[in-house]
Symmetry: C3
Subunit: 270 residues, 3 copies
C-alpha cells in the first residue's frame, strides 16, 4: 500500500528570525513525524495579504493533490475574523478569511468552512493562531479527520478580486495588483482577456505621459534598461524593464493604474 | 520497529546567499541520509546572539523529543570560547558558549559539555566551526554516540539572563530584551511575574513622557496605529502597535527600558 | 536494496515572496514524491550570477554523490543562451550557460550538455525556465533518464574565472571576487597560490593608501573593529574586520582591487 504523502506548504509574513515559524514547524513535526513542510516564503510584507494572495496563485496548483496550503498574513488575529478552511478538488487552503484566498476563489470551485476555534483548547494565544489553531487544524486534516468535526460551513467569504475597467474607444484602465521581487509590475489583465478582445495586434500602455508599445515575448527583446510589456509566467500582463527594476524606475507600486489601448489594425509605432 | 526520527534545526546569522548554510546541510546529509533539516532562520542580525537567544525559546520546546537544536551566532569563532553541548530531558542544544542559550538555561534542567575540538581533525577551518565542528558533533550524537566520547563536562556557562528591577511604590524597570519582525518590543516581565505580584488589575507603562494603560488581550482591542501592551505568544509582556511597528514609531531598540507601574485598586484612566 | 537518495539543491535570485520558488518545488514534488529539496538560497542579488558562482563552490562538494545542484540566476532567460547540464564525477549541475558555473568548471572535470528546450513542450513560459525547463530536466535525471535523451554535447562554456595579476617586485594585483554576508572581501588568491609562491612569511595588502600586515589565523587575533587578512573557509584570502563589516568600512565591492606585496625575509611592521 502506498503511503499517502503529507505535504504542508507555509506562506507567512512572520519573517523567520523570531522563531515563530520554527514553532509552527515544531508543532507540525511533533504531530506528524513524516510530514513534508515546504517553505514558500516568510517574507510577505507585514500585513500585506494582497501580496500573499497573488503569490499563492503562482505555486498552489503545481503541488501534488492532497497538499495543504497554509497562508498566514493575518493583521486581524484575535479579532472576530474567521479562520477559514477551503477545500478544492485537489487541495486544502487554510488561513484567515481576509481576502488572502481571493484569486483561488476566483480560479476554482471550493467548499468553505469556518474553524470552530473554541474547540482548540483554553491555551490558544490570542496573538498566535498560526501555532495554536491553523497548524493544529492542518494536522487534524492530515490525520484524516473531516473538517466537519471542528468546523462548520461558511457562507460569506472575503475577496478583493477586481476586474479591469472598460473605458471607451478600446481603452482599458488596469490596476497594478502585484509587484514582484524583480520590480515587475503585474496588472489585472491576462492573456485570456486579450484573446477575449479578439487578440488585437496592437497594444499600447500609457503610464503618466509615457507610452510602451507592443507585447514582447521575452525580456531580452527589449534593449537593456528598456521598459516593456510581456506576459508573466501565469499569463498576466506585466510591465517590466530588461535587466532593471520597473517599479523603481517608474516609482510605481501595487494599486497604481495604467491605461491600455488596443487596436485591431496594426499601427506604426511613432 | 519504529525508526527514530532524526531532526536537526538550524538557527544562524550566516544569511543564505554565500552557501555557508548550504555547506552545513551538505555535511549533515552526507553523514545521515534520512536526517530532517529544519531551517529556523539564517537572518539573525550578524553577531546578535541576544536576538538568537530569545528566538530559540520561541520554538525549541515545540519540537519532538530527540531533536537537536543547532544555534550558531558566533562572533568569537576561532577564539578560546568553548563549543557547547547542552543535554536537556528532551533535546540537545549545540552552539558556542556565549550566552546564546541563556533563556534555555533559565527554563529547564540540563547537563553541559565542552566539545573537545582537537578531536575533529586537522582540517578544521578556524573561521567556520559550523561546518567543521558543530555539524559533525550533531552527526555523532544522531548516530548514537554519547557526548562523553568527544566532549567533557563544562562548569562555567555564559548567561546574560536578567530579571527586571524593582524600583519603589509598585514601579518596575523593565528592559526590552527583543524586538521582533513586526516591531513588537518584548520586555523581561512575564504573565507569571504579573501573577506573582498578585495580578494587579491596573498596569501603566511609561516610555519617556508617554503612558500606555492596561494590558490588552489582542492587538485589535487597540485602534489602528494605537500603542498597546499585550502578552506575547510565550507570555512575555510586549509593547506593540496595532497594524504598525512600535519599535519604529517609538524609535526604541533592544536594551532600552520602560517603567511599569502597577496598582491593586482600579484607577480611572485620566 | 538501498534506495537511491534524491537530493536537489536550489540556488536562485528569485526571492521567495512571489511563489516562483514555490512553483518549482511543486513541480519537483509532483514528479518525485520522495525528493529532498534543499534550499541553499533565494537571496542572490537580482541577476548577479557572479555572486552565485562563488557561493556554489562553497557548498556543492559537501553534498552526497548523486545530488543535483540547480543554480538559476538567469538574466538572459528567453534569449538564445543555452540551458546547461554539467555532469561531474559526483554531481549534476543544471542552470544557464552564463558563467554561473565558472568556479566549478575550474575545479573539477566534467561533461557538458545543452538542453534541447524544444522537447519540453509548447507550454514553456519564455520568462520562467526554472519551472518549465530546468526543474523538469532535473526530474528526468533523477528518474534515471540519461541526459542524452533530451540534450546534446555542448562545446562552448561561458566562464569568467580570472587569475590574479602578477605585477613586479613580488607585488600582485588581486580582485575582489565576492563580498559575503558579513562584509568579508574575498579575493582571487588562495592558500595554494601562497604556497606556490614559497609560503612567503611576510604579506602586506594595500588598499588605497592604507596597509594591512600579515595573515591572521582567526578574526579574533585582530582587535575589535580592526581590519585583517585571513583565509576563508575554502582557502581564499579575505579582507575582513573583526566584529565589523569590511566592505562597508572600506566602501569596497566585488570587482575592486587590492595590491598584495609578499616578502621572503621577515620585515618588521612599521
Amino acid at each position: 500500500m502506498k503511503t499517502r504523502q503529507c505535504i504542508i506548504t507555509l506562506l507567512t509574513d512572520f519573517g523567520t528570525e523570531d522563531g515563530y515559524v520554527g514553532a509552527m514547524k515544531g508543532v507540525l513535526l511533533n504531530s506528524i513525524p513524516d510530514v513534508s513542510i515546504v517553505d514558500i516564503t516568510h517574507n510577505i510584507q507585514p500585513f500585506n495579504y494582497r501580496q500573499a494572495a497573488f503569490s499563492l496563485m503562482n505555486y498552489a496548483f503545481y503541488f501534488p493533490a492532497g497538499t495543504i496550503h497554509l497562508a498566514l498574513v493575518d493583521p486581524g488575529v484575535g479579532t472576530g475574523r474567521d479562520c477559514l478552511i477551503l477545500k478544492t478538488s485537489d487541495y486544502y487552503f487554510i488561513g484567515p478569511n481576509n481576502g488572502i484566498f481571493s484569486y483561488i476563489l476566483h480560479t476554482t470551485g471550493y467548499r468553505a468552512f469556518r474553524i470552530r476555534t473554541e474547540l482548540f483548547g483554553s491555551k490558544v494565544s490570542p496573538t498566535f493562531h498560526g501555532r495554536d489553531i491553523f497548524a493544529p487544524a492542518a494536522v487534524r486534516i492530515l490525520k484524516g479527520e473531516s473538517p466537519d468535526k471542528f468546523s462548520q460551513p461558511l457562507e460569506h467569504l472575503t475577496s478583493f478580486y477586481e476586474s479591469f475597467d472598460d473605458l471607451e474607444d478600446d481603452e482599458y484602465r488596469l490596476k497594478v495588483i502585484h509587484v514582484d521581487h524583480f520590480g515587475n509590475l503585474i496588472v489585472n489583465f491576462t492573456l485570456s482577456d486579450w484573446k477575449t478582445l479578439g487578440s488585437p495586434p496592437d497594444v499600447r500602455a500609457q503610464i503618466n505621459h509615457s507610452f510602451i508599445y507592443g507585447i514582447k515575448r521575452t525580456f531580452a527583446e527589449a534593449a537593456v534598461d528598456q521598459l516593456l510589456l510581456t506576459w508573466d509566467s501565469r499569463g498576466f500582463l506585466q510591465l517590466a524593464q530588461n535587466c532593471g527594476n520597473a517599479a523603481r524606475t517608474l516609482n510605481m507600486k501595487a494599486g497604481d493604474h495604467i491605461v491600455l489601448k488596443v487596436s485591431h489594425s496594426r499601427e506604426k509605432e511613432p
